[in-house]
């Protein structure tokens, strides 16, 4: 066991799985000699060489398209987009090809590929460098969409993603890259994709979050506890496929729910989650479900970044209103 940041934990996964499986390779812009824009792939090129740690030109569409080609016949590419906002140039390859290969070939070809992308606000840059557009990928049948919330689960989920037989979009909350450390075991471990985790138990209200918003949601839960309400907090970890069972059973119990995400509100992940709850537990709801989200705008410049992001106060207030609502 050692205390690791998310950067170090993800780097450990790449080292260990490349060691364990010769089919795994890393490619992207500056992932080799320079060690990655966030230094996440540091040391890989020294250990595994240029044939398995590939510095590419700036060519996002090419990087993803090439990864698909590598993946259809025996290799397991882990591609890096420097920021999730740069992946829009590769969207065509993800949507038109990666997501459909299994379908088109009736399962004869699969794409065991991971595309890692730092996402979300927190580095005080704007727009493409801070966006949270997970719905583009979660909305696409054939892609899995994973978003960890801490060093240990990031490490375990990345390993599961690399071993998964289908294309996985792996969003890394860059605000958490170096924000804190966690005990991470030396030996490799995985977490199953498609399973959410209850990170705090409570019977009064369910708070659903993921990625960088989880910490704020847990803080809001503590404030609610001081206020006399016990919140159950769910960390989704995988957005698609969504873990209906965990969400449904929690809200079945509490009857109240708030969904938190930093993505814009309209047609965001919250809309889907709320729709499923309405379908599954409508008669057990005690109050309207609320969403605490980013606004329907682009992530603003540094001076107003925090005004964009859901904060503890907004989450607390939404939960309070939900708790206070009477039919």
């Amino acid at each position: 066991m050692a205390e690791k940041t998310m950067i170090e934990a993800l780097n450990l996964t790449l080292h260990q799985e490349m060691e364990a499986d010769d089919a795994v390779l890393v490619l992207g812009e500056d992932v080799g000699v320079d060690g990655g824009i966030f230094r996440l792939t540091e040391g890989l090129i020294e250990t595994f060489g240029e044939s398995r740690v590939i510095d590419t030109p700036l060519a996002e569409s090419g990087i993803v398209g090439m990864s698909i080609g590598l993946a259809v016949y025996g290799l397991k590419p882990v591609a890096e987009m420097q920021f999730s906002g740069f992946s829009y140039l590769a969207f065509h390859q993800l949507e038109s090809h990666a997501a459909r290969m299994r379908w088109r070939s009736q399962g004869r070809h699969t794409v065991p590929m991971v595309v890692r992308m730092p996402y979300g606000a927190g580095v005080r840059a704007l727009e493409h460098h801070s966006e949270s557009r997970e719905v583009y990928f979660a909305h696409t049948p054939g892609l899995k969409m994973v978003i960890p919330s801490g060093p240990r689960n990031a490490r375990a989920l990345l390993l599961a993603a690399i071993r998964d037989p289908d294309p996985v979009i792996f969003f890394e909350p860059k605000a958490l890259y170096r924000s804190h450390r966690e005990e991470v075991p030396d030996e490799a471990e995985t977490l199953p994709l498609g399973e959410a985790r209850i990170v705090r138990e409570g019977g009064d209200i369910t708070l659903i979050a993921y990625g960088a918003m989880l910490k704020r949601t847990l803080e809001a839960a503590e404030r609610l506890a001081e206020d006399g309400a016990e919140a159950e907090v769910i960390d989704l970890l995988t957005l698609s496929p969504l873990d209906d069972a965990t969400i449904t059973s929690s809200v079945f119990k509490t009857g109240r729910a708030v969904v938190v995400h930093e993505a814009p509100r309209s047609f965001g992940p919250g809309g889907e989650i709320v729709a499923r709850l309405v379908e599954n537990v409508f008669y057990h709801l005690e109050a309207p479900i609320r969403r605490v989200t980013g606004f329907d705008i682009h992530v603003p410049y540094f001076a107003r970044e925090q005004a964009y992001l859901p904060d503890v106060e907004r989450i607390f207030e939404a939960a309070r209103e939900t708790l206070d609502a009477r039919a």
Binding site: D34, P57, L58, G85, L89, A303, R304
Partner: protein, 333 residues
């Protein structure tokens, strides 16, 4: 008759001052970054000043400019006020984009300055559209599109060069080849490091020029623009230059040596011009000090303007997303 560069003393002093304005403006930005008045990313142009100054000198007011995220130089050279630019860097409403764009997304509608594009290669198709629009609507203007060597790896680069040549559009492509796309050396990224030759493949006149020589850049830009303005279709100019500092404010720079950077610094565009002017007797004692004094006063005034500015009311962040919030005339400069 070629639109020649006139190399008299006032003209050379003007070019020197234009480069000093960029160099010293950015030096102030570094200070403001260190004191956390500017945050996030800050991509400095240090070393590449001759490119934007040389090319933009050759433009007319009706021409359009499309630039990259490393565009402080283009913005200043194109005449966007240093005060509204500095306010933009600080995220103030008084900035040229209301503090919405910041360092990487400078726009100015009146000056036909279309960014400030943070995605590598993203500005090229935009430039094609602007030029096609001008042509279709009978406006006599050229669109100048700046991009780096890294853009040559993107598909949009090739799509754009083809379209511009195919439809004979009034575009001047300017590649600011600083030898690195972030950490990736050109020789590791391109099968042919002679980027001007890529353009030749798209049947347009293409020239590579020493991007550290502001006079050579301006002369080459005038030659290229003469071709474009004459209805000959697009032209391509590769300016060979160097970025003295990190890609953004910090990077490990494990991709190059300190000696390499020092050698390039010694060939820098300001040093180059002042040395030559000194040798030829065109730079007099006190000239450079006078320029620096003038520019520093301009910078101090810009900083004061920016610091006195206001941050956008968070409620106003909902504005300017779609049609119902279109700004009033003059709201965005």
């Amino acid at each position: 008759m070629t639109d020649r560069v006139h190399l008299d003393r006032p003209r050379l002093l003007h070019l020197l001052e234009a480069m000093e304005r960029i160099r010293l403006f950015e030096a102030k930005c570094v200070e403001l970054y260190q004191t956390q008045k500017i945050l996030g990313f800050l991509h400095l142009y240090d070393g590449e000043e001759a490119v934007s100054v040389g090319v933009i000198e050759a433009l007319r007011p009706e021409d359009a400019v499309v630039a990259t995220y490393r565009e402080h130089g283009q913005a200043l050279a194109r005449g966007i006020g240093m005060d509204v630019l500095m306010a933009e860097m600080l995220g103030k409403v008084e900035g040229c984009c209301r503090g919405r764009g910041g360092s990487m997304h400078i726009f100015d509608a009146k000056k036909r300055f279309y960014g400030g594009n943070a995605i590598v290669g993203g500005g090229l198709p935009l430039a094609i559209g602007v030029a096609l629009g001008d042509k279709m609507q009978g406006r006599e203007a050229v669109t100048v599109c700046f991009f780096g060597d890294g853009a040559a790896g993107e598909g949009e680069f090739h799509e754009s060069l083809n379209l511009a040549a195919l439809w004979q559009l009034p575009v001047l492509f300017v590649c600011e080849n600083n030898l690195y796309s972030m950490g990736m050396a050109l020789g590791r990224a391109e099968v042919d490091t002679d980027i001007a030759r890529h353009a030749g493949g798209y049947t347009m006149p293409a020239e590579a020029v020493d991007g550290m020589d502001v006079v050579a850049v301006e002369a080459a830009a005038r030659r290229a623009l003469e071709h474009v303005r004459g209805g000959g279709g697009p032209a391509f100019l590769e300016c060979r230059t160097y970025r003295f500092r990190a890609h953004s404010m910090f990077d490990a720079q494990s991709y190059r040596t300190k000696e390499e950077v020092a050698a390039w610094r010694d060939k820098g565009p300001i040093l180059r011009l002042t040395r030559w002017m000194t040798e030829t007797g065109l730079l007099h004692a006190g000239d450079q000090a006078a320029i620096e004094e003038r520019v520093k006063a301009e910078i101090e005034a810009a900083v004061a303007f920016a610091e006195a500015g206001t941050l956008e009311d968070p409620a106003d962040l909902l504005k300017f997303v779609s049609m119902e919030n279109v700004p009033q005339e003059g709201a965005v400069r």
